[in-house]
Symmetry: C2
Subunit: 335 residues, 2 copies
């Protein structure tokens, strides 16, 4: 069980999780800069038939023959857990704050029973089912009063931090709102106080009006390159109508969202050789929150440039491709 | 000339710098996950004798024979510049904020006339000279009233974002304080209000008292693994006496700092195969600032783990090696 530490100066939280370094990898890393993909369909713990290698599922979506199509399991190498007490690696004393218990749970959503690496290789219907399972996990975790937020995310490819190649996403349920979402909530709240309107709704209006960063319009959703994107092709997918809460996603919306996402990811795969990306769901915290002030969305961040010292040191990102150029390229890419 | 955009929700600044993608690289990148080092001493623009390939120097340190030992030049592919007006790639309209001009300057500090990749291969005296040049650049830029902060940093190795291998650091002089330092200034200020003491001085006392994260003590400096380090072996080097301003570094202190740094980097090279790291100088802004509340230091962050979607999405880092374990390993590594 891990320690949740706060930086003594900034308060920035860090999970100290020594057990996680033992987790398995489908990537053979040579030195620190070379990774090579290893074929591992033969002994993949996420494939149908290998269920005994992983813990019992927290949720399964079955087909008409009773075979699972999507399977949610506890992460065997969790970053947080509901299990036990804090294992303290070191002491800190006043005036600094003691570590907290990293209470929570870390789940894996296995997105296909087949050994598929890339989510564009499953059907749009299957992807829609996965997006419904995202919703189900949020519904499940929001019933636990100790959990305030659940982060759903997907790492695809070595550069994006994936360790196993079989298509999957992850859920991290935790008792606090992490700093990036907190900053978004604060910004959206400032905007709401000043303009009496949801900042994201104003952004949807702007993107639909200007169209220079727009990539796709589907029923109830738009995809656009982020105005201040941190990396080339950073794309946000957002419902056009105001909705703060991904838990309210309908099955029809899941299908529409899957259509947008499938097309976007196919374009990215076509454009970027050996694509790596992170997909991050931004949705409201479960408590202490005004639903008028936030608007859920997906952020898809291809990992095409390395984060250098400047970005680490300053938090100021340098993006070598303007979002308008990126959107034009994405619009013109036919898949 | 580039655009400095603010995210419409969070205000997070991003530099849109299309010209920079054309910059040369000593690294051959195969796909997006493999980089191979290419020998390029033959045509390195930073070597003595190749001065005509780079702009005229802003500063040079000469030896007794008039040959340069350290050379500061404008970056040919700057992220910011004092030159011209904003090149706008796209529009944004109220209620969102317009882009700012990315006013500033981006310099390269060439740290040796020889084609050396690794700063531990130059003498401690030469490294001390480099650390004095850091000070000189801050003194130079703080005389420009439009510049509020200069970020000095070093990227070593492909994973850390280096593009040319010849030993060098960079300076980014800019009109604002970037978000990471701002957050540190705010945290230090909160601590000062509450405890009437510099947060970093309290941290020095704690580290010298507990010793579990301590790596080295040299005259006037300590090196220790950061209590809430984001990556394995993240190390801070800090003056033991209160000093907010790196511009006040004496030549004797530069020598002592070079001694600590040389030993630390040698240990990291020994421990981590194909080491990549970022070195980031944290010092006070040039204006609007209380010198009692801040304390300059160096942050050295080896890039041993990849930043995954979770870190991107949440700002919450997961460190698989506790700072106390890392410090013990570093203390026991003899170089």
């Amino acid at each position: 069980m891990d320690e949740l530490r706060s930086d003594p100066i900034t308060g920035r939280r860090v999970l100290i999780a020594e057990g996680r370094s033992a987790r398995p990898s489908d990537y053979i890393v040579r030195g620190d800069s070379q990774a090579q993909h290893s074929a591992s369909a033969d002994n993949c713990p996420f494939c149908a038939g290998a269920e005994q290698q992983t813990p019992s599922p927290n949720q399964q979506v079955l087909d008409e023959n009773g075979r699972w199509q999507v399977r949610v399991i506890p992460n065997k190498y969790p970053a947080v857990t509901t299990q036990s007490a804090v294992e303290k690696h070191g002491e800190i004393v006043p005036p600094f704050s003691p570590p907290e218990q990293a209470y929570g749970e870390h789940e894996v959503i296995i997105e296909s029973p087949r050994h598929v690496r890339d989510i564009t290789e499953v059907s749009v219907e299957q992807l829609a089912t996965v997006l419904q399972v995202y919703r189900d996990r949020l519904l499940y975790w929001s019933a636990d009063p100790r959990i305030r937020f659940a982060q759903i995310f997907k790492n695809y490819g070595y550069e994006a931090g994936a360790s196993l190649e079989h298509v999957h996403s992850q859920v991290l349920a935790m008792p606090f709102v992490p700093v990036t979402l907190e900053s978004e909530l604060q910004g959206a709240s400032r905007h709401y106080q000043e303009h009496k309107n949801c900042a994201f709704c104003d952004l949807v209006t702007l993107e639909l009006d200007q169209r220079s960063r727009l990539i796709a319009e589907e029923e109830q959703f738009i995809a656009f390159c982020a105005y201040a994107g941190r990396q080339p092709y950073e794309t946000w997918v957002m419902p056009t109508a105001h909705e703060s809460d991904y838990r309210k996603l309908t099955d029809a919306q899941a299908h529409s969202l899957a259509t947008v996402l499938n097309r976007l990811l196919k374009k990215l795969h076509f454009l970027v050789p050996q694509l790596s990306y992170n997909l991050i769901l931004h949705t409201r915290p479960f408590s202490d929150f005004d639903p008028n002030q936030y608007h859920w969305h997906l952020e898809i961040v291809p990992r095409t440039t390395r984060l250098a010292g400047f970005e680490w040191g300053t938090g100021l990102f340098i993006n070598p491709l303007s979002p308008e150029s990126a959107a034009k390229i994405l619009r013109e890419t036919k898949v």
